[in-house]
Amino acid sequence: MSTFGKRKSYKKNLQGNFDIKISININGEELIVNTNATETLLNFLRRIGYKDVKCGCEEGACGACLVILDGKAVNSCQIFAASCENSKILTSNGLGDSNNPHPIQKAFVDAGAVQCGFCTPGMVIATYDLLNKNPQPDEEQIKNALNGNLCRCTGYVKIIEAVKLAASYMKKSN
């Protein structure tokens, strides 16, 4: 399916009737926001301003929309926002910003693992999820953890270097 068609469906979702009220914690902020029955978590987050969550394939293949939902990395395009009542969500901006970057974000910049940057928020979230569970992953474990994240600019070499660098930064900061 063409990307054009997808964007059209995304815009259509923006015009829906948002009649379901949910309370949700996003990046530490308690919110009560309206959604509708079929709005995905991805469209919901972008609609209310979390544009760091990227809209890529919308079928769970590219990982650009990755967020941490109740402690687990998930593709937000494959989840209904209405099912996330009382959930905790962490997006890449919730980790840190340009003034105060998270060690993972700093590592991606330092390793030159960012080209167009579209896949980066998803990569950062996947790395965060991996390093939380396994602070010193080997290359194979990094590749496995990132196998749901596609990058169309790089050859993944810099990204894998960034994850290793992030592991060392996090070790130092701990």
């Binding site: 029955a37 769970g60 293949a61 687990k72």
Partner: protein, 278 residues
């Protein structure tokens, strides 16, 4: 159906959940939502959120070789459990671990549930062929149970919500599984799994094969399996003869035509049998 009219229901226990569905089968259960959203299937009147029904658990009875898995247990939760048990690669749990680990990507496996996978049973399902090699019971509604092959056939005719999956496994036979897909993170084009036992002179005295991804979703044929009995693993010609003459019944799709799938499946099956000899 107007999307705006869809409603969400948040039952606090399983009984409440399946009664909502029985009252109106157009209100469908939603666990991980991965199949519903991938297939954009909104021809229903509402969703039942199974989040609060406490159906996420794994209970194993190692004395009787039975494992009970709650319907909303995610693939990653099962993977973590199986990894902690150190089962051998050629055991049933070894191939189940292989199948679950190769299904979709890591973040998707945090959402894909075993109950949802069986309820929706997509053609790319990675778990159906291993499960068909064991005595797998589906427990649904008010503790009714049905064997997996019968469930596959009747599931669309019975309004139901899966409560748990009960697997009685056999530790005296060996298992093998393999998938075919474009890339390792892509959905499976097909997956075959087989269980077998071999006599001292390397002849099959038991063989059972299940293939998913075919036109009818699965291929199981008792007479196909019986032809392997007494064939020696070294007798490549006889093995090829049995496999080559069989039609598994694949259909063409936008990636591969049916003949290509048939022949690839046959070649991989022959290769796999050669591999177990070593």
């Amino acid at each position: 159906m107007n999307k705006a009219k869809l409603k969400w229901y948040n039952p606090q226990n399983f009984e409440e959940a399946y009664k909502i569905h029985l009252n109106n089968p157009l209100i469908i259960p939603c666990a991980g939502s991965t199949v519903i959203l991938r297939t954009k299937r909104f021809k229903n009147e509402g969703f039942i959120n199974l989040k609060y029904c406490n159906l996420s658990y794994i209970k194993e009875d190692k004395i009787n070789n039975i494992i009970r898995i709650g319907a909303t247990t995610t693939f990653n939760e099962i993977i973590e459990y199986l990894k902690s048990q150190n089962y051998s690669e050629d055991s049933f749990f070894g191939i189940l671990l292989n199948s679950l680990s190769s299904a979709a990507s890591y973040p998707l496996r945090n959402r894909i549930t075993i109950g949802g996978s069986l309820f929706d049973l997509p053609i790319w399902s990675d778990i159906i062929s291993p499960l068909l090699l064991t005595e797998t019971n589906i427990i649904y509604n008010d503790d009714k149970n049905i064997l997996l092959p019968e469930y596959i056939e009747k599931r669309k005719k019975i309004p139901h919500i899966i409560k748990e999956i009960v697997i009685k496994y056999n530790t005296n036979i060996q298992y093998f599984t393999q998938r075919f897909s474009l890339t390792n993170f892509d959905y499976a084009v097909f997956r075959f799994s087989f269980s077998y036992s071999i006599s001292k002179d390397f002849r099959f005295n038991y063989f059972n094969c299940a293939i998913s991804g075919t036109k009818n979703l699965i291929f199981i044929d008792k007479s196909f399996n019986e032809q392997f009995i007494n064939i020696c693993l070294d007798d490549e010609e006889s093995l090829k003869k049995v496999i080559e003459k069989q039609l598994f019944g694949f259909s063409s799709d936008f990636r591969f035509d049916e003949e290509y799938k048939e022949q690839t499946c046959k070649n991989l099956l022959i290769e796999s049998i050669k591999r177990i000899k070593n």
